[in-house]
């Protein structure tokens, strides 16, 4: 039982994520989290101004239900299934993080330097998170999917376009992690 409090191994986690995708297929849907961002824009009334958001978004209610479940899952997992052994990343990574002023995890999922509530008092900190989100939202819609739609579903279905998108994800991620983060943090 104690094992569920520790970091779940990659082979179990990956397997369950694969099953999540397959169960949505069995329910007649497809796994794709970034579509919810478009649905939320439509829900907020963006369809009146921009035709891209004027679509049958109500057919996506099931996906919002997945989001609601995921939020609840995140709550339960962090509040009732965690222990201080979590997020034990490579010591070399921690050393590298020190050079860009990011605190070590010590059981936390997210660094305080970027995500503590003090960020609400820091225009630079808020700007970083806002730009990060903006790139995620814009890029996933432009590429027609994110990690769930392309990396998991698309690659599983042997889609060449998804492979191109995933190569793009890694090019962008490597540029950010190695060249841009050290400059801005």
């Amino acid at each position: 039982m104690e094992l569920i409090y520790h970091t779940w191994p990659w082979y179990i986690s990956g397997f369950i994520i694969g099953l999540v995708m397959l169960s949505l297929i069995y329910f007649g849907k497809t796994f794709g989290m970034s579509s919810n961002l478009r649905t939320l824009c439509s829900l907020a009334g963006a369809g009146k101004k921009v035709s891209f958001f004027n679509w049958n978004w109500k057919s996506q209610r099931w996906n919002l239900a997945v989001v609601a479940g995921a939020m609840l899952g995140g709550f339960v997992a962090t509040h009732y299934m965690s222990d201080p052994s979590n997020v034990s990343i490579n010591p070399k990574t921690i050393e590298k993080l020190q050079t860009i002023n990011i605190d070590a995890p010590e059981g936390k999922l997210m660094p305080d330097a970027l995500f503590s509530t003090q960020v609400f008092q820091s225009p630079k900190g808020m700007f970083i998170l806002l730009i990060g989100g903006l790139l995620i939202g814009f890029g996933s819609r432009y590429a027609g999917g994110c990690t769930s739609g392309h990396a998991i579903t698309g690659l599983s279905n042997l889609q060449l376009p998804s492979l191109k998108a995933v190569i793009g994800f890694f090019i962008g991620g490597l540029i950010m992690a190695h060249f841009i983060l050290p400059l801005i943090l």
Binding site: G28, M33, G69, K96, G132, S140, I152
Partner: protein, 137 residues
């Protein structure tokens, strides 16, 4: 009531992404430093599981829960939108350390600052909708 099964699938997804720490900014950073196999292992096993499942669905022409034949659509062929959109997404992924699923999971977990990431992501999605016809696809 029909939505309960989706809430349940989402619940499992939220737990497994949190407990595997795929929602963690640190794990994404570590992955892009090539200093751990953990994230690569998760993605590989998820894809392998999915691949075997989809092959079985196709081979045995399985039906979904409402009895309809399962048909997984192919993605439109193109290169520009996937590579360019992918790079833009990747920049955000490594900066905010989360992709769309984890954004919601982390907010549910109580990380209030991730709401700023969500607002940014909504703004980015909206901007794409505005600029869509002017972008090369």
């Amino acid at each position: 009531m029909k939505l309960i099964k989706f809430i349940l699938v989402g619940f499992i997804f939220g737990i497994v992404l949190t407990k595997s720490e795929a929602v963690s900014w640190y794990r994404i950073y570590e992955m892009f430093q090539f200093q751990s196999f953990h994230m690569y292992g998760i993605i590989m096993v998820a894809v392998l599981t999915g691949m075997i499942g989809i092959q079985l669905i196709k081979k045995f022409k399985l039906k979904d829960c409402s009895g309809e034949p399962i048909c997984i659509g192919d993605k439109e062929p193109s290169t520009v939108r996937y590579l360019l959109g992918g790079v833009i997404f990747g920049l955000g992924w490594a900066l905010a350390g989360s992709c769309p699923g984890p954004i919601f999971i982390l907010i549910g977990a109580g990380f209030t600052t991730v709401i700023i990431v969500l607002l940014g992501a909504l703004l980015g999605t909206f901007l794409y909708g505005v600029l869509k016809d002017k972008l090369p696809h």
